[in-house]
C-alpha cells in the first residue's frame, strides 16, 4: 500500500488493517477442541475470588476447561436437575440431598464451610450487636422497624434466612422487609445504602467489607453454619454429561492440595472458607 504514493494510502491501509483484524476476530477458533466442564455454583464462591485461585491448577493439570456459571444455589441446582451443567458446588444441604435422592445428582462430597453473619449499620438501631442468637436478633430487627434486605432469589443464603424467620415464628412481610432478588454483592450494597440489615455469607462479606458502611453484628450461632457440597450430575440420567470431568473436579476439590488452597485463601488474614474434606489440611 505504501508503494502507491498518490493519496488514499492512509485510509486504504487503515481499511486493510481493519478488515484483517475483523477477519481474524471472526475466524478465531472458539475453543473448539478443548474439553469443557460446566460448573454451576453460587455467587459466594465466585465473587469472593476463591474459584479464581482454586480452578487454574486443576485446568492446567487436566487440560479441562471449567466454565463457571455463577448463579444462586436454587438456579444452580435447577441447572443440574435439567442436565444443563455437569457439576454443582452449592450450599443448601436439604436441597442438595433432594437432588441426590431424586436421582439427578450423584457422589455428593463435603468440600468446606463458612458461616453466615448478620450485618447492619454501625449505629445499630435494633440493638443486636454482640448477640449470638440469630433468631432472637431477627425478632429485634423486625420489632425495631428497621429495614431488612432479603436476597429473595431462592439462593442458599435466602433459604437459610427464611428458615431463621420460620424458627422465629415470624412472617417477614411489610414495608420494612425488602426482597431484592439479586446476588449477595448487590444486596450488601443495597443494605449499605439503605442503612439496613441483612444476612450474608462470611466469604462475600470479607471480600466486600472494605467498600461497605456496615459491621458484623451477630455471628457464632450454630444455626448460621454454612456447609458447601459438590455434586456430579447423574450420567445415567443424562448420558452426554461430562461425568469424568465432574469426578476429577470433585477429586481435586477434596484433595489435600485443593483443600490447602481453600485453607490458605484469606482476606485481611481471615480465612473465608474452612475445608472439611480432609480434616488434617485444616489450619
Amino acid at each position: 500500500m505504501i508503494r502507491n504514493p498518490k493519496g488514499r494510502t492512509l485510509s486504504a491501509a487503515l481499511q486493510h488493517v481493519c478488515l484483517v483484524l475483523f477477519a481474524a476476530l471472526l475466524l478465531h477458533p472458539a475453543y473448539a477442541d478443548e474439553q469443557v466442564l460446566r460448573l454451576a455454583t453460587t455467587t459466594s464462591t465466585d465473587n469472593s475470588g476463591l474459584l479464581a485461585i482454586l480452578l487454574p491448577p486443576f485446568e492446567k493439570s487436566t487440560g479441562i476447561q471449567v466454565h463457571v456459571i455463577a448463579v444462586g444455589t436454587g438456579k444452580a441446582l435447577r441447572l443440574a436437575r435439567e442436565g444443563d451443567v455437569d457439576v454443582v458446588l452449592v450450599h443448601a444441604r436439604k436441597a442438595e440431598d433432594k437432588l441426590v435422592s431424586d436421582g439427578y445428582g450423584v457422589n455428593r462430597r463435603d468440600v468446606m464451610y463458612n458461616d453466615f453473619v448478620i450485618v447492619g449499620p454501625d449505629s445499630d438501631p435494633a440493638g443486636i450487636r454482640g448477640m449470638n442468637d440469630a433468631v432472637a436478633a431477627l425478632g429485634k430487627i423486625q420489632a425495631s422497624g428497621s429495614i431488612f434486605v432479603s436476597r429473595g432469589d431462592d439462593s442458599g443464603t435466602n433459604k437459610k434466612e427464611l428458615q431463621l424467620w420460620q424458627a422465629a415464628k415470624l412472617s417477614p412481610k411489610g414495608d420494612w422487609y425488602r426482597e431484592a432478588g439479586q446476588g449477595m454483592g448487590k444486596v450488601l450494597q443495597m443494605t449499605g445504602e439503605l442503612g439496613a440489615y441483612t444476612l450474608t455469607d462470611r466469604g462475600t462479606w470479607l471480600a466486600m467489607q472494605s467498600k461497605l458502611p456496615l459491621k458484623v453484628l451477630v455471628s457464632g450461632d450454630p444455626r448460621l453454619f454454612n456447609p458447601y457440597g459438590v455434586i456430579a450430575v447423574n450420567p445415567a440420567r443424562y448420558r452426554d454429561t461430562n461425568y469424568r470431568g465432574a469426578m476429577r473436579l470433585i477429586g481435586w476439590l477434596t484433595s489435600v492440595e485443593g483443600q490447602k488452597i481453600i485453607a490458605d485463601f484469606k482476606i485481611d488474614d481471615q480465612p473465608l472458607f474452612i475445608p472439611t474434606a480432609v480434616p488434617t489440611a485444616a489450619p
Binding site: 481499511q15 478465531h28 442436565g83
Partner: protein, 233 residues
Amino acid sequence: MGDLWAANRQAFHLLISGDAELWTIIGISFRVSVWAILIAAPVALLLAFALARLRFTGRRLLISTFHTLMALPAVVVGLTVYMLLARNGLLGDLRWLFTQKAMVVGQIILCFPLLVSISHATLREADQRVWETALTLGATRWHAMLTLMYEVRYGLMAALIAAFGRIIAEVGSSMMVGGNIAHHTRNIPTAIALETSKGEFAQGIALGFVLLFLALALNFTLNLVQSRSDKLS
C-alpha cells in the same frame, strides 16, 4: 465523586495497558455481535425490500409487528432462547446453552426487527425510478434490487449501525443464555454487570468507556469506507 474520578483513570489505564483479560472480553463482544449482524442483515434486507416493493395481504400487519418487536425487552428474548436451548427445550439437542452460539441467536432476534423496520423505511423512500430504469436497461430483478439498495446505502448503513448499537450493549439476553462464563461467554455488558455486583464500580465504568471507545472506532471506520466509496463513484 471520588469513585467517578477513579473510574476515569482506571478506564484510561485499562485501554493503554493492553490487559489480556480485557481484550478477551472485547473480542467475545464483537465476535458475537458481528456474527449476529452478518446472519441477520441479508435476510432482514431482503424482507425489507419485499415489504417496500411488493403488495401482498398481511403486509401492513407484518410491518406493524416488526415496529412493535423493536421494543422487545432483551430479557424476554433471553428467557425465550433459554427455554428453547435448555436440554429439555425444543432445541435442547443442539447443546447450545451457555455458548457463544446461544448469544448470537439471542442477538439476531434482538436486532432483526430493528434492521427490517429501518431498512424498510429507507427503501420505501428511495427513488423508485432507479428500480424502473435499471429494469429498462435490462438488469435482472436481482440486480435492480441491488442497484436500488446501493442508492440508499447511507440509510441502510444507519440501520446496521443502530442494530449493532442495540446488541453490542445488551446485557439481558447475553447474561441469561451465555451464563457470563469467563473467557468464553463473558462480554462487555455482562462483565460490567458482574463488576457492579462485586462493588467494583470503577472497573464497571471503565469497561463502559471501553465499549464507547470501540463503538467510536467502528463508526469512524465505516465513515472512512463510505467517504472512500464516494470518491470512487
